[in-house]
Amino acid sequence: MHELLKRSEDLGATFSDLRLYDVDELSLFASETMRQVTSMGKDKGGSLRVLVSGNWGYAHFTKLNQDIVRTAVESAYGDERVNIVLLPPLHDRVEIRTKKPVTKSPEEIMNDMIRLRDDIMRADPRIRSVNVRFTNSRIHKEYFSSEDREITLDYELSNISVRAIAREGDVVASASTSMATYLGYPLEVFDPNEIVETIKRRIGNQLRGKVPKGGDSDVVLAPDVVGVFSHEALGHLSEADLAINGILGNLRGKRIAEDFVTVVDSGRSDYPMAHGIVPYDDEGVESRDVKIVDRGVVSEFLVDRYYSAYLGERPTGNARAEDFRSPMLIRMRNTYMMPGDWSKEELIREIKDGYLLVSPLGGQTSPDGTFQFGIQEGYRIVKGEVTEPLRNVGISGYTLETLGRISGVSKDFGMWPGYCGKGGQSVPVGTGGPYIKVRVKVGGNE
């Protein structure tokens, strides 16, 4: 066991764990006016957590020394009622290997970014401004606990994201896309032309798009949007710390949707963009799949060690911290709705007057069950046919009401990368799902 843990026990800790992080960061930025390294270096530090007389104490540090233990023990504060699940001893080392390792120098990567930037600007002369960002994090984490758990994780996350602005007369349009993966260099794992084509299509649509009429409407949500819906509207409500004060808290075992609706949170998915990879969480807990909604019925919540004990639910491996500075919170990993039997075309044909909503701009939910998110690519559907593009669309509603209104789920399925914010921390997550047909409130500007 690590010597800091022994010393914690000597000072009265009944449980302690130590997280050590060593992350090599590289971040590059290119636009039509500048290019530079915006971040590069080693983010190295740790966090010692102790349970003393039923109270948590934390010490986060960049310099490891014996004073850390005393700081953690002395910071313990509370009502002496913390109870957590303890786990058996375990020693493990996990390395997630890339398929296309990032072997290029920062200068060579920048040259690739410049080529991508130029391709985007050439794709549509109305595009005046482009941001291209590349980030790469080589992550080495070590976890030690007083239960004699020692876990080492090594993996790498890379992301390329683009945001472009175009003008035509008085109309301004903007579009974004990103490709993030744990498999290595995104411009080799994926086809860069897809980025160019996506930006070109979204810019064109935004410039000629119509603002939809606000109000309730039948819509088909594409996998990217269903993923964000599953994450924002349902996933957050199933995080145990939010669930106990929210609308899902009293609904375990209750039906809230049709049989064909199943929503899962998983620490590992084979989809390349499912970068919410968590083989072990930051409390050293093995990751397992959680069926939040199982065939229409509220099934399980996402828990950490504390809520596992509090709710009597088997640990799920959902405790995550953005970095060594941050406390662990209950967070999602890869959250998705399972596919069904319909085809995408069949779902669209069912709609007489509605919308196909393809790509979100992020979203937000509240524990009372309201959600809202923006849409950057969408189309009107008239008599079962996809017609004119839309601009300035948002959707909102009540989660339970909306889940109950899902009337079709497709076989087609996709996963997308995202970053989830909670408690001032941001962690990579995957979101995904099939196409679904549902009725929601569409917010426009007219």
């Binding site: 109270n55 401004s129 300035n392």
Partner: protein
């Protein structure tokens, strides 16, 4: 282990202009949700920028060694040759009093305790008290050597009403400052209880109000981020801002004031060590000033507003401090005005066009002098319409996080209920 001065000298001897931004941060925080959490952070970090022949390189580390300088030098060629890539000059800021020098641990505990009384009146989701003390310094090869200690404190409550039948929206109320002595805990508690009470039974809006009133909290959540993006010199230069310099957008005045000692975003110098000062961004509706760091002031050929913001892990970008909003026109709160208190989904806004569509979970209308809660509405529009739609100020000035403003009466935004 080196020290900033030795490393700057080493860079100079190698023929580079060099800047080191360093931080020693201490944070203490307490949270009571279902369980108590207590946290203590100590960190040190260094960001090293290198300049030569119009190129710039950067590296950071939590240890200051020769290696971090070598890494910064190694990526010089990634940047484009640009004469505006020049090291900022020496600056002698007049130092503000941003640290009261007092113990912050016990007052954090003393702040959390009385908040626990709220559990008898509302469903408390979380109680929070935290304090930060940070030493920030910048040295460079031009002779710049500035440092100061900044402290800030914060108290917050998340609460709602919950029973077997209904769960109301979470209300988050917080107060912040330089010292816990400046935070009025009773006022914070009263505000939480009143807002939970207002949202306990909510009506659906049957007719759309012709006017909304954004209170200071809503302004900090909605208008502040939209304005921050739009007055950023980089975004204006690259025509990514929805606002154009010299154009008129309504009648309010917006001042960025980094020298208000009560605001936790205030600073004597910015992330490049340059002395800060007030800047009028919008004067009686006219967009007249932008925020810049050293690079963007040179690029735009405007005086530097010294608005470089950064962590030691990144190069300086541009950001506001305390935004103060003034309006000459006075208005009274009228029957059926929709008062917006809290919005969600601002991050889904299109910053480049200024378009937004946000859910309003906490709002009320005034009927016969009483606040009547309103079920969720979607508020949409764009920044220009919002600014032009301001009809006047309502009530007294307040500071909420990075905004100091009266409530604003606004027309012209779309409400979907």
């Amino acid at each position: 282990m080196s020290d900033p001065f030795s490393l700057v000298n080493r860079a100079k001897n190698l023929g580079y202009a060099c800047e080191i931004y360093y931080v020693e941060r201490w944070e203490y925080s307490l949270a009571k949700e279902k369980q108590y959490q207590s946290s203590n952070l100590k960190e040190m970090g260094y960001g090293v920028r290198i300049f030569k022949d119009g190129r710039v390189g950067f590296a950071f580390s939590t240890d200051l060694t020769d290696e971090v300088l070598d890494r910064a030098i190694s990526v010089l060629r990634v940047s484009e040759r640009d004469p505006n890539n020049e090291i900022p000059p020496a600056s002698k800021p007049s130092l503000l009093s941003l640290d009261r020098g007092e113990d912050l641990v016990e007052p954090s505990k003393e702040t959390l305790k009385p908040l626990e009384d709220l559990q008898e009146k509302v469903n408390v989701v979380g109680l929070y008290a935290s304090a930060t003390r940070v030493k920030v310094g910048v040295v460079n090869t031009e002779g710049l050597d500035v440092s100061e200690i900044r402290s800030s404190v914060h108290a917050g409550v998340t609460a709602n009403y919950k029973d077997q039948a209904i769960v109301t929206p979470e209300i988050y109320e917080s107060r912040s400052g330089r010292s816990f002595k400046e935070i009025q805990i009773d006022e914070l508690k009263e505000s939480v209880v009143e807002k939970v009470s207002v949202t306990k039974s909510r009506i659906k809006l049957e007719t759309k109000p012709s006017r909304i009133v954004l209170n200071t909290k809503a302004i900090s959540e909605l208008l502040y981020p939209l304005l921050s993006y739009s007055v950023n010199g980089e975004n204006v230069y690259r025509k990514r801002s929805p606002l154009d310099l010299g154009q008129v957008y309504g009648m309010i005045t917006v001042v960025d004031n980094p020298r208000n000692e009560k605001s936790e975003l205030s600073r004597s110098f910015d992330g490049e060590g340059q002395a800060t000062s007030e800047r009028t961004l919008i004067g009686k509706g006219v967009f007249q000033g932008v925020l810049t760091n050293w690079y963007w002031s040179r690029k735009m050929r405007v005086p530097n507003s010294a608005s470089a913001v950064r962590s030691y892990m990144s190069t300086p970008s541009v950001g506001p401090s305390l935004m103060q909003i003034f309006c000459d026109e006075k208005q009274e709160l009228e029957e059926n005005d929709l008062v917006v208190d809290q919005v969600q989904g601002v991050h889904t806004s299109n910053w480049d066009t200024g378009e937004f569509g946000v859910v309003v979970p906490v709002a009320w209308v005034v009927r016969k002098g009483e606040k009547v809660g309103v079920r969720e509405v979607v508020l949409s529009g764009d920044l220009k319409t919002l600014l032009r739609g301001v009809k006047g100020e309502v009530g007294s000035r307040k500071r909420v996080w990075a905004i100091e403003s009266p409530d604003l009466a606004v027309e012209g935004l779309t409400i979907v209920s």
